[in-house]
């Protein structure tokens, strides 16, 4: 099966600039700067059907099109590499293997939007990825592919790497902009949307690493080619699926969008660990509602997963075996979100610890029948939060109530965890 993001990968090391160049790297940039208009680049990306790979799945070209072109002054492009959603590690793998597709992708996106200054916002702990980005930027600059007057086209771009100091909320695009400006990373209210008023009050586009790394291949090979990479007609392209939990091979795979969950687990993941049986999984990072065996044949694409009651999210699949307590798993997820809440708004700051407390009681055998109703109400209440963190946090709780209500009741009626706390 055809790959584009991992096409240049070398086993056990990062591809070099010379190797990337020799395999057609930066050809898309050369092609663009020698004859395509910014509007044409944007149109190819729109036509390709590329959707954001950071979690929300918003059409990338459409996001670019929201940037007003008639406002004088700077605009910015931010590459979001604040990959802190539990179960998600695709951007780290990508940047450790090949930072060049990202640098070329940022340059193409910047050309399309009319940006002269871009930032890569990278999380703490991704030292190797950050180092690769800095090196790739320096090499591209030395080769005249970045910096002033790129390839004599008159188009100039600077890319800066900003390394954060660890906080999940920084991945939310408006919080990210505050973080980048050196302010406390609380989210901002929308509207105004970043496309109109973002970084330093200027029009700004925030795209995920994987999203931007797709751009060179799309520009080089065209929209129809990209669409054709997917397994089902309504999907477009490939996706990095990073798998963890109770399967044989926990790794990051580039696979066609539209492969079913079962095909991914039984195929590249090599099936479940010996003696384990599939019970459930999180299909797209910690904020997405659970899937069970009944979702085994769901094609993994944005709309197909949404129709099945969850979200494709980041593509971080976390697999649980038959011995996993789903109340305990949900408690772990909620504890993460309660700790990572930035504290800005009341529903999130107060609501998440409250939900955590209820789940802890149920898991400890002190749950009561009415707790189920309280949890259900809070799925609703936390949707009133200021930003998507709290509604996202409640995704697994909603899934727990919908798919595993029996298991919650068993905890309550037995007065203990039926799994004996086993994971």
């Amino acid at each position: 099966m055809e790959q584009l993001l991992f096409r240049h990968n070398r086993p056990g090391r990062c591809v070099t600039f010379a190797e990337y160049r020799a395999e057609g790297g930066f050809a898309a940039l050369e092609k663009t700067l020698s004859g395509m208009s910014p509007a044409e680049v944007q149109q190819v990306v729109i036509d390709s059907g590329l959707r954001g790979r950071g979690g929300a799945g918003f059409p990338t070209g459409k996001k670019w099109s929201f940037v007003p072109r008639d406002i004088p002054g700077p605009r910015y492009l931010i590459c979001n590499c604040d990959e802190m959603e539990p179960g998600t590690y695709k951007d780290r793998v990508l940047l450790e293997a090949n930072p060049y597709s990202l640098v070329e992708g940022i340059t193409l996106a910047a050309y399309a939007i009319g940006v002269a200054h871009a930032f890569i916002f990278i999380r703490r702990g991704y030292e190797e990825g950050a180092e690769n980005c800095r090196r790739a930027i320096a090499e591209a600059k030395a080769a005249g592919l970045l910096g002033e007057n790129i390839l004599g086209s008159g188009f100039s771009l600077e890319i800066d790497v900003h390394q954060s100091a660890g906080r999940y909320i920084c991945g939310e695009e408006t919080a990210l902009m505050n973080a980048l400006e050196g302010r406390r990373a609380n989210p901002r209210s929308k509207p105004p949307f970043p496309a109109v008023k973002g970084l330093w009050g200027r029009p700004t586009v925030v795209n995920n690493v994987e999203t931007l790394a797709n751009i060179p291949s799309i520009v080089a090979n065209g929209a129809a080619w990209f669409k054709g990479l997917a397994r089902i007609p309504e999907a477009a392209g490939t996706k990095l699926f990073c798998v963890s939990g109770h399967v044989r091979h926990t790794a990051c795979f580039e696979l066609p969008l539209g492969m079913t969950l079962g095909e991914i687990i039984d195929g590249p993941c090599g099936g479940m660990l010996p003696g384990r049986e599939f019970k459930s999984c999180i299909p797209g990072g910690a904020s997405t509602p659970f899937f069970t065996k009944e979702h085994w044949h769901v094609p993994m694409d944005f709309d197909t997963v949404a129709r099945a009651g969850s979200r494709l999210g980041t593509g971080g699949i976390i697999v649980f075996d038959q011995g996993t307590c789903m109340v305990a798993a949900t408690l772990n997820l909620i504890a993460f979100y309660a700790r990572e809440s930035c504290g800005w708004c009341t529903p999130c700051r107060e609501g998440l610890p409250f939900v955590q407390d209820i789940l802890a009681r149920i898991e400890a055998g002190a749950g009561r029948e009415e707790h189920i109703g309280v949890l259900r109400e809070h799925v609703q209440y936390l949707s009133y939060a200021f930003c998507p963190l709290a509604p996202g946090a409640m995704g697994p709780v909603e899934g727990l109530l919908r798919l595993f209500e029996d298991e919650i009741r068993e905890h309550i009626s037995l007065g203990r965890c039926p799994f004996g706390g086993r994971k």
């Binding site: 179960g87 999380r123 703490r124 702990g125 660890g166 990373a185 910690a286």
Partner: protein
């Protein structure tokens, strides 16, 4: 007091920024590298360099997981307690380390060698359970592997991101 050379280096970093406070995280990290943690003195120095009030720096310092506003050991061990690690024994790993070091999560050993902290997902879920010492990620950390990791760390200079004795970027190269 920080050495003049470091102060100059930080001024150069700040001059490159679009607005000076954009460099706040980098400045805090460098000061933390110097002092071993972000001491009160460092907060004041960061404020002066960035043109902010100490309170504004405090507001940032207390926000980030990897900026330490309290003294830490020479090696800070961050143990992931998020879902992928939890599913394959993250809790036992933390319990093992706590017992082995004789401290609770959040504590520092009496000899000042190790601080043990739980942390959120380190993005190494394929190799869970995971911990990070200083800047180095370790995957598939069984209790035996944890033992090796502790011994390796003991034999090296400080791995606090930036703690005293840590290698500077240019020295690593």
């Amino acid at each position: 007091m920080i050495p003049d050379a470091l102060k100059e280096e930080l001024r150069t970093r700040i001059a490159r920024a679009v607005t000076s406070r954009e460099a706040a995280v980098d400045v805090m990290k460098e000061l933390q590298r110097h002092y071993g943690w972000l001491a009160d003195e460092a907060v004041a120095e960061a404020a002066e360099l960035l043109g902010l009030t100490p309170l504004q720096v405090e507001e940032l310092a207390t926000f980030y997981e990897m900026i330490y506003r309290r003294p830490v050991g020479r090696h800070v061990i961050h143990v992931c307690d998020s879902i992928s690690c939890w599913a394959v024994g993250g809790e036992s790993l933390m319990a093992h380390l706590a017992a082995r070091l004789g401290i609770e999560p959040g504590g520092t050993t009496a000899d000042g060698a190790f601080t043990l902290l739980p942390c959120c997902c380190l993005g190494n879920c394929g190799e869970a359970p995971t911990l990070m010492i200083g800047d180095t990620l370790h995957g598939r950390v069984s209790p035996e592997r944890a033992e090796e990791v502790l011994n390796e760390a003991r034999g090296t200079a400080a791995t606090v991101p930036g703690g005293p004795g840590a290698l500077r970027k240019e020295e690593k190269a």
